[in-house]
Symmetry: D2
Subunit: 283 residues, 4 copies
């Protein structure tokens, strides 16, 4: 069953919901999900609405055109997606394999509604794992000197393969502003701390040092500022004085896997809207 | 700022959302919250929509009449509430005081948007506590013989005081079917287990006996069948072999307080719809 | 660094701890972990103590003999393990692959200190997965008629391979009493509910039907009674009216993986004592 | 049943456990709880051991003297407590009343094994609440000029009343180094964030601004550096884009109450050891 999905944000005012749902009803659409949110601080309206295309009077390729007058009337930012348009995904990885395995399994099992096209790494360690799952592996060694030129080739590959989403599955390299800007709100990173605590390197070591009683993991869209992008999902697990740094790292791996995979899933289902460096998650 | 709230359930079909939001828009209403849900198994549509009355073209007392044709067209069950109509609440309690204190505090602090009118107990132990908070206390001793006649007098009192919601804050008596039926979906109980585990008496003792690693608490609407009513909220806490029954009881008290108070809050905010012995929570 | 581990249970009385730690100290042992617990209801003493073998005056093979008088004096049940003795593990699986993948990864990554020797299944579906990880796969088709004789052959294989622990990774067959008895407290199952809620088949469907707000998973040792064995670990995740049965199944998979792997880890680390159909977890 | 409790920390070496438990056994003591921990990074040994005084051959007042040679042999820091010595507690509060009510209730209900002697505030708002519970209330208005001299008078009062523990129940004043030093590891504060995130003022506002998906609360011993003291306990609750700052504050209140009361309970039960700006919690 194919569906259409509208993601909308605009200044809040009267009548938006009636106009959007009226548009769908008038064209015979059967709404499956409708979720709206108003940020009262900034007076901004957000919406995700999904309806069946079967029986809808407008053909797919005419919907956007037909909707545009409403979008213009309310000054909407909007995205129109179709469930049939599966996003292409690239995973970036260095040497840690837990998130990679987890994602490979979830794509293979059909849990993540995307098309995993390729894996890129700055090391060859995980090539056998990736190929075991039948996914093309690309090796792009990086150092301080070649970083920007290598990124050029990576971007070229991503564009050639039509990549919609880049997942940094514990990729131990910082992407350039140019790269980030090229894939704005389409790069998801997993940070192994409960942000904004422990931004940057070695968060488990610092959590151990600080003596926290709970550790966390955070998935977020990548922006130019390290670990400062819009947070998509977080989760936590209890630790105690009995847990060494190694125990924290081990417990944290399970968090990282789950927190990253939820973010990837919601992104692929078009359930995330970014605004003001924050996310609205329609789930 | 006064608001109107519509709670709707009806068979799902095309156009409901457009019709309801169109009704509000046409009358100049500014929607603050709109949340809908479709149960695809039973093909049932649920909705909670809240809009400002300030600037709404229909006077409060005309809204229901104006909305009725839409309700009839779609075969809706609906409730129309106004934020200005604060519900009257009665608490029933026996001898345990933790949920009572918690609710007394929350009502006093303004956390719960209701009017706590009175407390009823089958014991006098907690009379000083209740009166310390300035709330009328009624003592209705019960035994097997007088139970039904005492309930009659309780119902009489509740009706005289215009009670909309009865909260059983660890009330150790089972209400008769007649009582339950009189306040259908308006009696909230806290059960000190993670239902459906440990229905009935002494759940912490049985949890200890079974060796569970997590205990829970459940708030639910009371029905004729013991601990079988629609679940409103649940929460849990970890236990280990180190926890005695007494430790579980102590840890459980904090759960019970929170789980009960959330349910009371949502009910008072008209955020709960009951169907098929389950709840839809619009929060 | 090799260590010795003593797991002890006995009637509680004065002097046990002094005697056991005195035994280790007298022989020059450096204690790394010592954890004791007294069940005051049954007046039972439990202990796990781990010390370095390096520098210990008794050779490994003499420790048990030297300790026996103490064990006899206090009427101890005890187990003596060495960290160098890695347990042999067999996984039983049917068609669901999420727990299998998870365990295969964890063994491969060295997270689980055991020797995964083989996988047994009553279907061939997961043979490629198992072999992808380089683990021997055995296919034992079962039906009502051949069940007991097939089990004989399974037990034979397990004994030939020196299997210490059997992990049922969503194995959809009930083991006979004979099998269970043969591997008493050495078969770990994952049940996809928060036991004792939803014992038996289709727990997610029943959780959906009951309208619970939290679902869980439980790992336990297998006993003759279905889903009644000693609980090792449980964990939970929130659900709402928005979650379909399929959503619950999906969310539950992540619970099942984590809850099962924790139990396997603790078992392999000799951190579990079973008594009175419950577990003491020294972690 | 009266018990003795030893809290010990010292450089780790062989034989400590045997010597301590031997001391208790030799004198006929019945050990109820024994919990030890070794920090392998710093090679430090920690222990809490509790035994019955009934039947113990040494009279209470002789125990410390008898134990001292062992303490000296191993270079121990140690504390000897008796369950009969109930600690005296003072609560400091400003205008927020949720933690205050919660503590007042828990002391009254016997959940917290301490003697709540008095409440100090820099405002008179909560005087009626405190007196409703029959606890003496002291009003010490503070401003920038008089702060140190007022603190002198507070310390004088605390000393006169024999206060062992100061609980800052959302006390909106920073204590001077002199005060902190006077009650080293005996002042517990509740900070309304998941430390080390959002140190300092308005953490909920900053959590909202940052768009976190989970908020927390932290109880800790107060040191000279703001919100940098040893963390005792933390807990968290989920939030979403739907939660306003006010919702976070409301949800946070329940966290603060629980996280603070757990810390107070453990302190009163002599279950906390502080080292290296961290805590070992023997629970």
């Amino acid at each position: 069953m194919e569906t259409a999905i509208l993601l909308i944000s605009c200044p809040d005012r009267k009548g938006i919901l009636a106009e959007v749902t009226g548009f769908i009803a008038k064209n015979g659409g059967n709404i499956l999900h409708a979720d709206q949110h108003i940020d009262f601080q900034s007076s901004t309206f957000f919406m995700r609405i999904e309806w069946e295309l079967d029986g809808f009077l407008l053909p797919k390729e005419k919907i956007e055109e037909a909707f545009r007058p409403i979008a213009e009337k309310f000054g909407m930012d909007y995205q129109l997606h179709f469930s049939s348009e599966v996003k292409n995904v690239a995973i970036f990885v260095s040497r840690y394999d837990h998130c990679l395995y987890d994602l490979l399994y979830r794509f293979k099992a059909g849990e993540l509604p995307g098309n995993l096209k390729l894996v890129i790494s700055n090391h060859t360690d995980l090539q056998p794992v990736v190929e075991m799952f039948g996914i093309p592996f690309y090796y792009f060694p990086k150092n301080r000197e070649n970083k920007l030129s290598v990124e050029e080739r990576e971007i070229e590959l991503l564009e050639r393969e039509g990549i919609d989403l880049v997942v940094l599955a514990r990729y131990m390299q910082i992407l350039s502003d140019r790269f980030v800007n090229r894939f704005r709100n389409r790069i998801i990173n997993i940070h192994h701390s409960f942000l904004p605590a422990f931004v940057g390197a070695k968060p488990y070591h610092r959590a151990y040092q600080r003596g926290v009683k709970i550790i966390g993991a955070t998935s977020h869209y990548v922006t130019e500022e390290l670990d400062q992008g819009p947070i998509i999902e977080q989760d936590v697990v209890r630790v105690s004085h009995r847990d060494s740094v190694e125990d924290m790292i081990r417990k944290g791996r399970d968090l990282e896997k789950i927190v990253l995979s939820r973010a990837v899933k919601w992104h692929l289902e078009n359930k995330i809207l970014v605004y003001d460096n924050k996310t609205v998650i329609f789930n």
